[in-house]
Subunit: 152 residues, 2 copies
């Protein structure tokens, strides 16, 4: 309902990715197809196909330019957990959300699991003064990722 232009373009690109594992496109063509400004394509790419969401995009300008989008390689869970545990300054909420989303995108975490974790690392849930809060968040996330990686 009330599909926005951005949503439509997102689906378009996702469909291309399903088909062949990669989406190759010309920015102007896609923009013309949806009758919008070319920069709209960039908006969709940066909001929906960011590295945090598990995508990598490469492009070239000039004559014969193009944009290519592929899914990025899965992160290694135990390594991420180890990194989090070593981190001296912990991790901010935005960073945690990015990691969780990333793990979800690559199949390590289910939709529900990701949803649960996101709700738990929130600022207002942890509710501690700042050096400790980020540290705690890192410990929590590390524990969760470790549990996931061992649970199979």
């Amino acid at each position: 309902m009330s599909l926005t232009l951005a949503d439509a373009i997102e689906r378009h690109i996702l469909a291309l990715l399903e088909e062949s594992g990669e989406a190759a496109l010309q920015r102007v063509d896609l923009a013309r197809h949806y009758d919008c400004a070319p920069s709209q394509i960039n908006y969709v790419l940066s909001t929906r196909f960011s590295p945090e969401r598990g995508f990598v995009t490469v492009s070239r300008r000039g004559g014969g330019g193009y944009i290519r989008i592929v899914r990025s390689v899965e992160p290694e869970l135990p390594q991420m957990a180890a990194m989090l545990r070593r981190s001296q300054s912990g991790i901010a909420e935005a960073g945690a959300v990015a990691i969780i989303a990333r793990c979800n995108a690559s199949g390590w975490l289910g939709e529900r699991e990701a949803q649960i974790l996101m709700s738990m690392v929130r600022r207002d849930v942890l509710d501690l003064p700042l050096p400790e809060r980020d540290l705690l968040r890192a410990r929590l996330l590390a524990a969760a990722l470790l549990a996931v990686s061992q649970g199979r």
Copy 2:
């Protein structure tokens, strides 16, 4: 008999829910229809369609924004979450483990989800002095259960 505006809007939304199992609306439209301030809709949502009352609402801002209301699949979970949040003394590790196990047994939490939560509420992960540790554990568990109840 005094049917307040809030009551009327509540019935309106309930009727939508009866019809199709979900109420999807635009806040401004509904407000215009009842000739009231848009924030009145939020008032109705927070007083009559809260998680404790067994409803889940999701919304999006910006162009193409919307509000969607559905009945919660597990009305018990928000109750437990509310209980935990109200608890003045928090919850000990053993208590949390018991709750998680029970949720797992009743099918509200999957095996993996239970494992993850257990690993997160551990004493050595939370690592805080004692009044705060139990309080934090309660907040974490409450957040998790609420997230589950809003599962998608």
